[in-house]
Amino acid sequence: MANELVVELPDNDKVLDAQTVKQDFPIFKEVGQDPFVYLDSAASAQRPSKVLEAMDSYYHTTHANVHRGVYRVAEQATNLYEEARSHLGRFLGAPKPELEIVFTKNATEAFNLFAHGYGRKILGPNDVVLLTKMEHHANIVPWMILREQIGFEIRFIDIDAEGQLVLDNIEQQLKGVKILGVTMASNVLGTLNPIKQLTEYAHQEGAIVIADGAQYSPHLPTNLQVLGVDAYCITGHKMLGPTGIGALWARTSILEEMYPFLGGGEMIRNVTTEGFTTNDIPHKFEAGTPPIAEAVGLSAALTYLEEIGLENIRAHELSLTSYAMEQLHERLGSEIKIFGPENPSARSGVISFELKDVHPHDVSQILDQEGVCVRAGHHCAKPLMTSLNVPATARASFYLYNTESDVDSLVSALVKTVEFFR
């Protein structure tokens, strides 16, 4: 299955200037170490001042609990929160932004909400949930927990040597599948999956598709209507927003059908000592006081991303990734193994690798001494590690504030590492 992903990339001179972008992010000036080469945005991105300012300004001028206040400040807080919801919906190209976004604390909660709200509703002991071997634990473990409660089968789509999904017999694999869960972009391999086509196949078999956009929407333009998926998860802290916020998007019809998940204030219509009835969507799924300031911060992050332009971000990351892969191969030769697709345009700005005879933990430790921050570990993708037959990988990941000089630092530090362990 060819990847249908076509992002119109801008001319070279419109692409962002990462050095200038970096100025917007206070941590690059204020962190207590120099150099600070941050190559771990796939774990969590940094925040521009505007995001922090938006949250501070919210707390300085408008804070009150939302939804239940009649007075003006509470109303303004509610408006800001609801505007953030619509903003995220528009950012993702959701057809009904104000109805279909459920704010959660992170992408993980969003998957749990979908599994327990929708999965529990439609799955029975004889059903099948199809995942992929490159899923993040967030899109695996909730299904396993649900399976313990109601029983059903979980299958995994395999990956090939280049880290692409094995989809030759996809129609076969989809037989009897009720739910397909698949990541837009692997957080380890960088692989960009052909979601649109996969969804078409899945829909033909009557399966519902939930896509993991945690590693995609921060980096490439997202259009849910084009993708055709039925549900989608994101997390704020990977897209320049604060920690403490994520979201589930799902079609209205699905949200309407879903069981409530977390119970408490705000998600109810009425409660008696006998039982309760639920509120309208999306509030039905937002129990308790929501992450209000975090929603305001996320909205500011989206504005920032929109102003720079997701196409520009993609173009910039693509060029960095190409440069990095080139340099790594050139300078480290057979000492390095890079996982995932060889063609940079088939991947996001994530590079996982292995140095010969050096454990990723040691790689990361030694790189840290050089001021280079990369992640080492299983990246919450243990089935993928098993599949790749490694205990862990080291991973460098790029974002809009990374420069070619960051890549150079990475490469030199890796060369030193190899020497150190020789």
Binding site: H67, R68, G69, V70, A74, E75, T78, N79, K96, I268, R269, N270, T277, N279
Partner: protein, 158 residues
């Protein structure tokens, strides 16, 4: 207390203190639907007696703030004795006045050309127009109307 006069017009306070068509109707033949505002705990029960596509009688009971109760009372006077088609149109007109009319498009409903909102077309209901400036209270004002719509639906189904 400036600004408040827009919200709390004389006529609203009057309908609040002396609600018209207050009470219940025997079901059947009447239908009853209950509406909640989860925001504030308001609840309303709307009783409809429909005969030959006409709203013969309407009664309202419940608990609510001045806005929801006066809106309910004003609603009863606006729709009582009217053909159902006019009742439906009144609902749409009212929602337009509450700045909610764009919804009728969004939810894929048929778009009906509204009458302009003025004293001549909406009568005493115009008193509720000030609510639009207080967005939180719009839900109070619309609660009885939404419940009316539900009741109309269940009447059609039964």
């Amino acid at each position: 207390m400036s600004g408040l006069e827009d919200l709390y017009r004389e006529i609203i306070l009057d309908h609040y203190k002396n609600p018209r068509n207050h009470g219940t109707l025997p079901t059947p033949p009447a239908v009853m639907e209950q509406g909640y505002n989860p925001l504030c705990g308001d609840e309303v029960r709307v009783y409809l007696l429909i005969e030959d596509e006409e709203l013969k009688d309407i009664r309202i009971e419940g608990q609510g703030c001045s806005i929801s109760r006066s809106s309910a009372s004003l609603m009863t006077t606006a729709v009582k004795g009217k053909p159902l088609s006019e009742v439906r149109r009144a609902v749409k007109t009212f929602k337009k006045m509450m700045a909610l009319e764009e919804d009728s498009d969004l939810y894929g409903e048929e778009i009906i050309p509204f009458e302009p909102i003025n004293e001549r077309t909406v009568g005493e209901l115009i008193a509720l127009q000030g609510v639009v400036k207080f967005p939180v209270r719009i839900k109070c004002a619309t609660l009885p109307w939404n419940t009316l719509v539900q009741a109309l639906e269940s009447a059609v189904q039964s």
